[in-house]
Amino acid sequence: MSKTISRNLQDKAIAYVADIMSDQKRMDFELELKTNDELKALINEYKTTLNLSTEAFSFSPSEEQLQSQRLLLKGRIQQLESENFRSPLPNLGSRIKDFLTAPQPAWAVITYMVIAVLISRTLPLTSFDQKLPFHESGINVVDLMRANELKNIKLTSNLNGDSRIHFALETGKNYDISGGVNDSDIQQLLFYLLLNDENPGKRLKAVRLLKESAHQLDAQAVLVSALLTDTNPGVRLRSIEILKNYESSDLIIDACIKTLLEDENEALRQKALEIISDNPVEKSLPVLQIVSVMDDNEFIRTQAARTLKTFKEEVNPEKVEVK
């Protein structure tokens, strides 16, 4: 077809279709078009290509999707603002006191117990009998944690370039170790940082890196723990975003229920609601009923009511009294 049409004429045809010609050039081109059938066919081909492209890329976001993204963005901006104003040392004493004295429903206590059991199985403090020599550095990360010698872990670089994570461990001796995100010792260090480090920046970095790791039960428990206890909304948000990609479990659903009911951050409640909505289970029904009426955020209330309606159709209808 266009083998006999010059490159210059092709460009003119595209400019014509794109409507970027000056009036004079357009008139000249249209004169040529009247007498050139091959050029007419080429114009039609360009127009069809454009129509196909416009249809293929047509996208209209729903108001729900936009609202959800706005809430998430609000959470991120709040996190940025809180980082700008945070004190260098968080008040750990009052955090622990507040946490311990807050009234907890029975299911929440059970959730904590499950988390504690899972963490105790996987975290190094209980792995006294496991000897896992770190193959590159020759040090035993578990032993260092057990001896409480990991006081200043520096995450010197991360997934840039070589997709390996580098840690500088300051102990009796100084160590530099590195490994992939799925390396057991590297994961233990990331868990340790996420649950123990006082610096929210390091905790955020740890949770970001855990996003790249394979989905495992111990990682799930650590992320749930971070979601329920971390004081930084950014860390909690990252944790729940990763958990959203995990296969649903009672542990995750219970954590989401608690988050939906209690977290002050709208974006977190929204994310928790999304996970609950994707995984209809009976125990979510009363929670959704409460949230659909009581949540401070109108969008979350509406979403909860909508999810509730869907659940009532999907979850054992005899057990649910629809009023």
Partner: protein, 182 residues
């Protein structure tokens, strides 16, 4: 830019986050659509939306009202998309590449296409374009922007925008040959 938008920008620049979120609500639909067109799927589009607005929030103090707020946001979104794609491409390098089977295209030529297949073919064709050509194609034909606006967003000359546009269109036409008469 309306007076309301100008006032919201000034308030947001003074640290009023409510004003910033109001600006987001007024502009984010088009940014979400652009994000979808620039990225390959909805999940990546949402990530791009988030990253773009976080960057906008961080650099709002640099906005001097010399261009429209949309143009400024588009520029941030386009640049963020390029960075995100590079990052994604690095990650995908580690995944095995699917073998090309020449029989696939042979089978395709005698096939009755449904709209889903055509959509996929168009997206695949767009993916074969170099990054800048693809971006110009999207901004011009899908976002209906003017050549000058695209030049400002991409920080290139008008002539370069046209050159990218011509090359992109010609390549798309060739790539979609067999779908034209469906």
């Amino acid at each position: 830019m309306t007076d309301e938008i100008k006032q919201l920008i000034k308030n947001a620049q003074s640290g009023d986050s409510k004003a910033f979120h109001r600006l987001v609500a007024l502009h984010d639909e088009r940014i979400m659509v652009l994000s979808y067109q620039l990225m390959k799927n909805e999940q990546d589009a949402e990530d791009l939306y988030q990253e773009s607005f976080v960057k906008a929030y961080k650099s709002l103090h640099t906005f001097r009202m010399e261009s429209s707020f949309y143009t400024w946001l588009y520029r941030i979104t386009v640049n963020t998309a390029i960075n995100m794609k590079h990052k994604l491409a690095r990650m995908q390098l580690q995944e095995p590449i699917k073998d090309y089977n020449p029989l696939d295209s042979l089978a395709a030529s005698s096939h009755n296409y449904n709209s889903r297949e055509i959509t996929q073919a168009v997206k695949n064709a767009a993916d074969t374009l170099p990054e800048k050509q693809r971006t110009v194609f999207i901004l011009k034909y899908l976002q209906k922007m003017k050549i000058r606006e695209i030049a400002v967003i991409m920080d290139i000359g008008d002539g370069t925008v046209k050159k990218y546009l011509f090359r992109a269109m010609e390549k798309m036409r060739n790539e979609l040959k067999e779908y034209r008469y469906v």
